[in-house]
Symmetry: C2
Amino acid sequence: MDRQGILIVVSGFSGAGKGTIMKELLRRYEQYALSISATTRAPREGEKEGREYFFKSREAFEQMIADGELIEYACYVGNYYGTPRAYVEEKLSEGRDVILEIEIQGARRIREQFPDAVLLFVTTKDIDTLRERLDRRGTETKEVILQRLMRAEQESEGMEEYDYLVVNEDLDECVMKIHGIIESEHQRIVRSGELIDRVRKELKRFSKGE
Amino acid sequence: MDRQGILIVVSGFSGAGKGTIMKELLRRYEQYALSISATTRAPREGEKEGREYFFKSREAFEQMIADGELIEYACYVGNYYGTPRAYVEEKLSEGRDVILEIEIQGARRIREQFPDAVLLFVTTKDIDTLRERLDRRGTETKEVILQRLMRAEQESEGMEEYDYLVVNEDLDECVMKIHGIIESEHQRIVRSGELIDRVRKELKRFSKGE
């Protein structure tokens, strides 16, 4: 591939289906790569270094922060999670479109450092549907579901900071919509500099009668 | 359709295939409407008022300019051509995506008045291909082809003012790319205000435990 990759941020309400969507994007199209996070949380049964996460000690993680090796990071339930810059930049320069699943604070950090990143917010078509999906998981109590909806209310305040709002009603359709958005973004003028230069050079040559 | 239409400007080099592309877009998808220009040029054999053009006297056209009834206009070979505001706004409010085929001066005027318009520039993948297509028309002398290429050189200076650069290598693929761009544009955050408001209202209701 001779085109530069696009950094894609995917955020959205818990229950909107982000995980499944990203898995499908990766399965269907070779052009995507999922960013692998670094974390200080202990590996779980079956998790492999460099596949699910890069596992780090707290000291090593804080050193990465100090050295600017993370493009964003956050702390949840006493553990750090962050996005290693090296992995993302390597994949982008290979022409892969790199997907990050992060929340709004991280999305803002990405935007500062990668102004051309594309920020997607995924939602169900309405909140009844969201609640039904959370209910159907069956693993969560009414209390937890209410917490998630209250969290969603906070998250909804930041929706305007994203570039696109994608409704996940039908998985297949939603995956195609997101792929369509990314393919369209590749055709943006800001990403077409090389082609424009070439066309101009050729036109100059022809109009000189060569 | 409950979504607002998008105003689409299509520009591009002579020979890049704009006309064929637009015909195909209109044939394949009901959502598009072609803007019909007003002109002072005389109707040709077979042309019908309100289908090819709205035919106007010079006085009537200049009155339309004075009354702000044209969103852009230009003068070619002694005749006026312009885009009537009423027709465009009517189609947009019906939810149709309205396509205008105009050049850069017109595109700039559109951008001023419709900041959300989507500006597409169509090109062949290289200038050899462009020249071949102009040659193949068989209707034009070497002189005219050279003039068109010199014109293209001027036009290429404005390419960065467009939103997207679309390469027309294969007609079918190109039509799908443009349709993909427009469908993606419909999902932009700036066009999702209604959905965002609704989602927020519903979340407020749920988090209050209703």
